[in-house]
Subunit: 402 residues, 2 copies
Amino acid sequence: MKRISGGITAPRGYKSSGIKCGLKKSNNKDLALVFSEKKAQTAGVFTSNEVKAAPVILSQSRLQQNPDARAVVINSGNANACTGQQGLDDARDITALVAEELDILPEEVLTASTGIIGKPLPVDKIKAAVPKLISELSFSGKQAAEAIMTTDTFIKETAYNAELPVSGSEVTLGGMAKGSGMICPDMATMLSVLTSDVVIEQELLCEALQEAVDVSFNRISVDGDQSTNDCVFLMSNQLSNNQPIQTKNEDYKLFCKMLKKAASDLARDIVADGEGATKFITIQVKKSPTPGQARRVARQVANSNLVKTACFGSDPNWGRILAAAGAGASGIDPQITEVSINGVKLFAHGLPAKKSRGELGGLMDAEDIDIEIILNQGSHSAEYWTSDLSYKYIEINAEYHT
Amino acid sequence: MKRISGGITAPRGYKSSGIKCGLKKSNNKDLALVFSEKKAQTAGVFTSNEVKAAPVILSQSRLQQNPDARAVVINSGNANACTGQQGLDDARDITALVAEELDILPEEVLTASTGIIGKPLPVDKIKAAVPKLISELSFSGKQAAEAIMTTDTFIKETAYNAELPVSGSEVTLGGMAKGSGMICPDMATMLSVLTSDVVIEQELLCEALQEAVDVSFNRISVDGDQSTNDCVFLMSNQLSNNQPIQTKNEDYKLFCKMLKKAASDLARDIVADGEGATKFITIQVKKSPTPGQARRVARQVANSNLVKTACFGSDPNWGRILAAAGAGASGIDPQITEVSINGVKLFAHGLPAKKSRGELGGLMDAEDIDIEIILNQGSHSAEYWTSDLSYKYIEINAEYHT
């Protein structure tokens, strides 16, 4: 398995495009299309927020009825959320037009939106742009990755290929994503499309996606907020002609590994591009009695504004880390808990390690900060990724007006 | 029942003092004492954080063994948290010295600390200051209220008196508190001492305190972080000579009302003085199917960095409010949920209200922002208080070094 260049168009049979249709004041690209030349069985994971945007409702219902898709149309600049029946009608209209122009069925078009909540989608602008969107389809994934960005500062794409051990066929997996604010575990607010050419049973495809999301997009936190529009799609058009994956054999395991790696690349990029982020913080909780407690403790630390501001200020404040880990009767025992930052043990046996200012100086200056919390109560682990909390975050979010 | 001037020394028989003993770089006051001339039955509520500071462990265990107390000694500038056996020994030593100098029993002295975590308490400085602390005891509460401050910018005290309807006696209740960062529901990180002269059964005193804390200190949020040192003490020295309150009669109800009012005053002051706060935000969730859901939804909105930055930016961003309310499968139904800001309905029937920019202009300019979320699913309510998230919060917390 190796990382290759490119993104969603790296596997065989996918094209994409990204153009401007006028939804953004910035006049940046705002409309993207991913197209599979052949029917692709598709799995989706959607926001657990009770407030679901129209495209989420529509795509979720289409996938429930029929997992075969050919295209995903995505706009940025407007979330089409809290827009009632009109929002649903708008999403249906756009997918219908895309289907018509591509000569496929409306049910084969999925959709996603990101941007401002509660404003009617400028459907006419989008519809007027659809012919151009289709005419610009190409084997490059960059334009689409750019068109789904909102406050992102760089495009996020990744791709891998590998030879399956059982069937000997080469399969490829590509992906793109956007962040970068409102990022919280159990769907960070983000969109991602993953594409593959693997031949696999639909049930296994869904299971593989959920598993990959659980250890990637569901483990990141920028600000603890969860969006109305989160979704991840995984399409597979079966063009690799591998012996179909029907059991959890070695081929399945390798595909899962690729998928987790690709989803992790994108999730890490989202954190690195978190609004105002200056640091990439990895939180590892180890030796927990249960997986749930490990996740909970890691999440509490990842979501702590005090930990995040300490990281921004390059302060090795293990006290804030320990307090965040212990909050809300989390079940940790401070007498046996150990806290390390960047490999230096700062707290153990109920006491701070004796370190001089000199020993700690510069410990947090790096852009990557690794926080390790060893609970010494069991054998389960969890890892979260988060960014620091800076002046810039406040600027971005206080000056973003509805 | 009326509010009167003063704080912890407003009821009969209480004295207090607050002095400098050299724990703070700023050289501000850092050591406080509250003293009751007569034995006071005392109730306490403590942090639910698994990481409990030494003074919390000591005071909690003393109250469990014997609810009668005579004094509370509090230092700021050092939390005496994560300090192991030495921390416990230090807390015991200090209370023993205070007891000796006051000629009372060590078990009658409670203690609390606030400040930096993980540094040994400078016991010698505190011990050297104890004689002065005692000699300065007076009927003013202001010096003590000042000495417990950390990043607080103003002292927090309140007092009420009332004539009990059944017994006809006048009772008085006073209190002080400190905030102001690391404030989260289910014990905000804060300290508070409440004093009264009421005669009441110990069990009812404890119940009254827990109830008051639940609707005051447990309903505030500055940054979602929960401290290792939270505690609230309620002392009652029974000097009012009222007919003892032994049942939940009208006297008990009035006392509870006073207590809730005083605790709310202090809790609201803590939010108003939240680190970097420029706005006071009240979140009311109404018509919820259960009290737990009402609280959860209110807390999610109160803890949302995106809602808090929108308030800082004076942006009537009901979309962020709704998204925070719906996060994590909270059980709300966006089709019937209504969102208002400062009395203006912005979202209902699944759609944003049609408001012009002119109608919304200035809606959030006031310092007080009232967010109302009506779920239309039942009859339960919850209210939370929080502050906005500003540049100043980042400055305070990124530049506070261990």
